[in-house]
Amino acid sequence: MAKMTLEELRKLRSSQKSEMERRDVEGKETHIIVGMGTCGIAAGAKGALDGFLDTIKKNNLDDVVVKQTGCMGLCYAEPTVEVKVPGMPDTIYGNVDAKVAAEIVEKHIMHKELVQDHIQDKPAGDIIK
């Protein structure tokens, strides 16, 4: 995109916001968000990421988006991953390696069942709402 004017920035913001709301309402897509700060990567987030991508490919899931984000602050539970599946509560998983990642795809995403022993709580509410 070329340089924006004020109007264009405002338009982009509102379209991005409504895009996010649409996602929440219609809930078609599944999002896997992997915490990839230095801390997460050092704890093996890349392995978890590969685990997600492999399992998704193996099962031909085409409506799953895998993204990265920064540190969630839960260092004791790194690597951490947030999973958003339509019709299910947003869930944060901790200590996710490739094996757990595969389990999350197969259980949580494909069968709407939470994976035991890896669930963490969100550390804080969102101030931007």
Partner: protein
């Protein structure tokens, strides 16, 4: 049948000890008995960080948040919430409004987690490499406002109302810094971001830059608008490669969108930012040394005044703030100074990010409103000390701070309170110590750090740190003398007064503060040659008690230097000359036949 409800049961240790397991099992049984086993999935989660009200049970999607749950409540949770979708009022959590005193009342935020994220608002939520995600979360809205809607004077006013104080450690009011620079007449001014995070155990700035780089770029641009600067520099240590990479990506995206560079958003205002990589010297976190380093000179401090706000980078007026300070600014300008001023204590507004490390169960980054107590941070958010050990102290402020003992666990944490109890906020490192940590040894570590990092320009710091280190060394070897304590205090006080910069002035703090709270431990080292925690190797001796030793040979096999001898089924003996005091034998012995003295 598809699962309709999810029940999350806290599986944290604190909750587990108060019957978390029984609750979990009862819920399973009740779900089965009431015929809804297929509709509901019951899982155990990590600690919710609200242990004082534990055990905690959460039912989704109803968002029912139950506290102090007892095993016998399981039936009602299933029959009411899962089957009928109703709340069980008796155990439902009711947020206490204004629980932190009058200063604290955030509208309708359910505050059970104790955390409140302003600085880390986007960390762990957005993709830091996608500017659109930042924009969608009100990113660059503050920039918009500052360019088109409000004047530089109004920016200053908003910051003044907010009460924001610098998060780098000293806590100087941000609006005053900006105002000084704004008032100086000059063709060239600079905006600098101090991302030279050096305290051992602190990493909040790295995480902020990695998780939300645009918030820093936006805040620096706003600072530029406010004081009339067109150039900014981020001084970041080269050992943060991921943060550097993400900042570069963010700057490229912002330039492409016209949010950085010439004629920002068609306003006619120009502003651009450069990265300057530091080699990781601690002293370069001191602002004048940092500026010298950006100029290409050796990173050494110069006396203040003149302050950088008036005469800074290349002798021009310069605003210099820390990463965390900048990260607050877009939120303050979007939501208003008054909103920010509602959070925190009377003299310290907003939140503070702490890097909670050491002997703590849930180590990590926590962001809490100022005025939160140490007890809440350590025992609730942090989940307490692992392995049932006893809490000893918390070290805050790194090599410039001090220790806080259990006596002060309930002191509300803010800039002024920490100083009054002999520590300081510093950049927010919080290292928890338990009974196995030796105060003398920990201080030796910090002093060693200061000796290494002292730039050597002024004598009080160069010689003072070395002298103090010498005393600590002797203490840990059992060669200390009682008079040394007074000598250390004298040297420390002299350094505080005479050292050129913050590094030297604060270097004796850990010693002075620990002498006050743990003087007896120093005396134990000096007078009895004893280290109760067993950390000072020269004072520790491992011995085998002949009566208890059954001669199983485990210790001899574990010993890495083969200094344990003895026949099978006969008591063994440690050769004290050869022993390296690694403790392998002690840990390996199943018969408690080895003692530490």
């Amino acid at each position: 049948m598809a699962v309709k409800n999810y029940i999350l049961v806290c599986g944290g240790t604190a909750c587990e000890s108060s019957k978390g397991d029984d609750i979990f099992n009862n819920l399973l049984k009740e779900a089965e008995a009431q015929g809804v086993a297929d509709d509901v999935q019951i899982v155990k989660t990590g600690c919710f960080g609200f242990c004082e009200k534990g055990p905690i049970v959460k039912v989704l999607p109803e968002q029912a948040f139950y506290v102090e749950v007892k095993p016998e409540d399981a039936g009602e949770i299933i029959s009411e919430t899962v089957i009928k979708g109703r709340m069980v009022d008796r155990i439902l959590y009711k947020p206490e409004k204004g629980a932190k005193g009058d200063a604290f009342d955030i509208d309708n935020i359910e505050f059970y987690q104790k955390q409140y994220r302003i600085v880390l608002r986007n960390c762990g939520l957005i993709n830091p490499e996608d500017i659109d995600e930042y924009i969608a979360r009100d990113g660059y809205a503050a920039l918009e406002k500052c360019l088109f809607d409000i004047t530089p004077d109004q920016i200053i006013e908003e910051l003044k109302v907010s009460g924001l104080r610098g998060r780098g450690g000293a806590g100087f009011p941000t609006w005053m810094k900006w105002n000084f620079t704004k008032q100086v007449e000059s063709d060239q001014k600079y905006i600098v971001c101090n991302a030279d995070e050096g305290d051992p155990g602190a990493y909040m700035d790295r995480s902020t830059l990695e998780g939300d780089p645009h918030s820093i770029l936006e805040a620096m641009t706003i600072a530029g608008i406010c004081v009339g600067a067109n150039m900014g520099a981020i001084y970041i240590r080269a050992e943060y490669p991921l943060a550097i990479e993400r900042l570069e990506t963010a700057m490229a995206q912002a330039r492409e969108y016209g949010l950085l560079g010439k004629d920002i958003l068609g306003s006619g205002f120009d502003f651009d930012i450069e990265l300057r990589l530091g080699a990781g010297a601690f002293v370069c976190g001191e602002e004048t040394a940092l500026l010298a380093s950006i100029e290409g000179k050796r990173g050494m401090p110069i006396p203040k005044p003149p302050f950088p706000a008036v005469k800074g980078l290349f002798a021009e007026p310069t605003v210099i703030n820390n990463v965390e300070t900048y990260a607050n600014i877009p939120a303050i300008l979007t939501k208003g100074g008054e909103w920010f001023a509602k959070i925190g204590t009377e003299k310290s507004k907003g939140t503070k990010v702490f890097a909670l490390t050491g002997k703590i169960k849930n180590s990590g980054l926590v962001e809490v409103p100022m005025g939160t107590t140490l007890r809440e941070i350590v025992f609730e958010i942090g989940g307490g000390i692992p392995n049932g050990k006893k809490f000893k102290a918390v070290q805050t402020g790194g090599p410039s701070g001090g220790v806080i003992t259990d006596k002060y666990l309930d002191t509300p944490i803010d800039f002024d309170n920490l100083i009054s109890i002999g520590s300081m906020m510093g950049s927010g490192g919080m290292i928890v110590m338990d009974e196995d940590d030796c105060i003398v040894d920990v201080n030796r570590f910090y002093m060693d750090f200061c000796v290494e990092e002292s730039c050597g320009k002024c004598a009080p710091c160069r010689i003072g740190t070395k002298k103090l280190m010498g005393y600590l060394d002797r203490f840990t070897q059992g060669k200390g003398e009682v008079e040394d304590i007074q000598k250390m205090k004298d040297i420390g006080e002299a350094m505080k007064k005479a050292a050129l910069c913050g590094l030297g002035q604060t270097a004796p703090n850990p010693i002075l503060s620990s002498l006050e709270h743990f003087g007896h431990e120093y005396m134990e080292h000096i007078e009895e040659g004893k280290c109760a925690a067993g950390k000072c190797k020269d004072l520790v001796h491992y011995k085998i008690i002949a009566e208890k030793c059954i001669g199983c040979t485990v210790c001899a096999r574990k010993c890495p230097v083969n200094c344990i001898e003895g026949e099978r089924k006969k008591p063994h003996v440690i050769d004290q000359e050869k022993c390296i005091k690694c403790g392998a034998c002690f840990e390996g012995c199943k018969f408690d036949a080895i003692i530490v003295s």
